[in-house]
Symmetry: C2
DNA sequence: ATTATTTCTTAAGATACCTTATGGGTTACC
DNA sequence: GGTAACCCATAAGGTATCTTAAGAAATAAT
């Protein structure tokens, strides 16, 4: 039961009682995505919070030249949503796409607001979760402004060792903000260093 | 009364009742910082959430070569804290320093937890606040991985027009992740373009 | 299994950005 | 009001990273 994964995930933050669990379980629905299938596309309103049970999604933006820039990968026990579009209910600038066959749980805007309003603990948990994600993002900004591409790549490999094998290097390059060609030359150096 | 600024700020998110206002006001204390004074230094535990009433702070990390990298500027009606150190109560990797004479309000860890526990609305507000800051940070990451230094500088000027005049370009360069010399040559180009 | 598509590697030439250095202009501090 | 510290501009040469191209290897689709 996928919903059990979500409940277990939440309990790591703060234990839930039966009522909270049931209310949570009642408002998430299962959805599977094939490889390359879009969870969200630019121009659409992001209507769901998506929790990944298995598989992997990528969030990316497309620039004026049509190039994709990966903002984030979302694998097991992690959340994908365009927060800005989700809360404002305005069209998103982003895409979310499955890079592997992915099993997910989704909750609608109105249902999440219901949970926030009626369960302090769930509201609380989502604050703690996003604070952690904020810290990670802040570290990434620091990396971006202070480190070379090689250092950022080494950091990525260390931080996400499981993603390394599952993602093509072209996708990692986009995430790091370098070209795949340059990542390839960096990669060679790292092998000799490790 | 500085605390009125904070209450007004909160009310923009979600109205507070009298009890909430009073509880909030009772737990923040005023503190002023001179230019260059440190709010937090590396190695110390970050024991406060700091809300800026007037003035401006910078948060930065120092790398192995002793170079400072500005992660964030925090001006009026904004929050400065090392979230990671604050919640874990472990030594911080960051500095927070006043770049202008700054008036601030601070709340201790235990007092904030008290507010979270006893006032759902305050917990809720902090979630909404950090979600907005998360969105901003995510946009900054996107800029970093997809835009040239010149584009990032133009974006900064547009997004923070008031900070532009208050901060030396050396500080903005550090925030953008470029050298002051290079920012200087970029700056010239922007003048001709606008 | 075969074909089509995507991915990886390599290399040469171009560009963005950095380093170092220097001088002049501001701003802070006593 | 004077001195010291900081800040800005400019330039020459160096390094990191990008662009384009093309072939080989791996992976996905039929």
């Amino acid at each position: 039961m996928p919903i059990q994964n979500l409940i277990a995930y939440f309990k790591d933050y703060f234990p839930l009682n039966t009522k909270e669990e049931n209310d949570l379980a009642a408002r998430f629905s299962e959805r599977d995505f094939k490889r390359r299938q879009l969870v969200l596309q630019q121009g659409d309103v992001c209507r769901h919070f998506t929790f990944v049970i298995s598989g992997c999604l990528k969030m990316y933006a497309v620039d004026q030249n049509g190039k994709e820039h990966n903002i984030q990968f979302v694998a097991e026990n992690d959340w994908a949503t365009d927060l800005s579009s989700f809360y404002s209910e305005k069209p998103s600038q982003l895409y979310i796409e499955a890079v592997e066959p992915t099993a997910a749980l989704q909750i609608k805007h109105s249902d999440l607001l219901y949970l926030y309003t009626n369960h302090h603990k769930i509201d609380h948990n989502f604050r703690v979760i996003i604070e952690q994600k904020y810290i990670d993002l802040q570290n990434r900004v620091l990396q971006n402004i202070s480190s070379s591409a090689e250092e950022r790549y080494a950091y990525f490999l260390k931080q996400y060792p499981n993603l390394t094998n599952r993602l093509p290097n072209t996708q990692i390059a986009s995430y790091l903000g370098v070209t795949p060609e340059f990542l390839s030359t960096i990669g060679k150096n790292l092998i000799y260093k490790s």
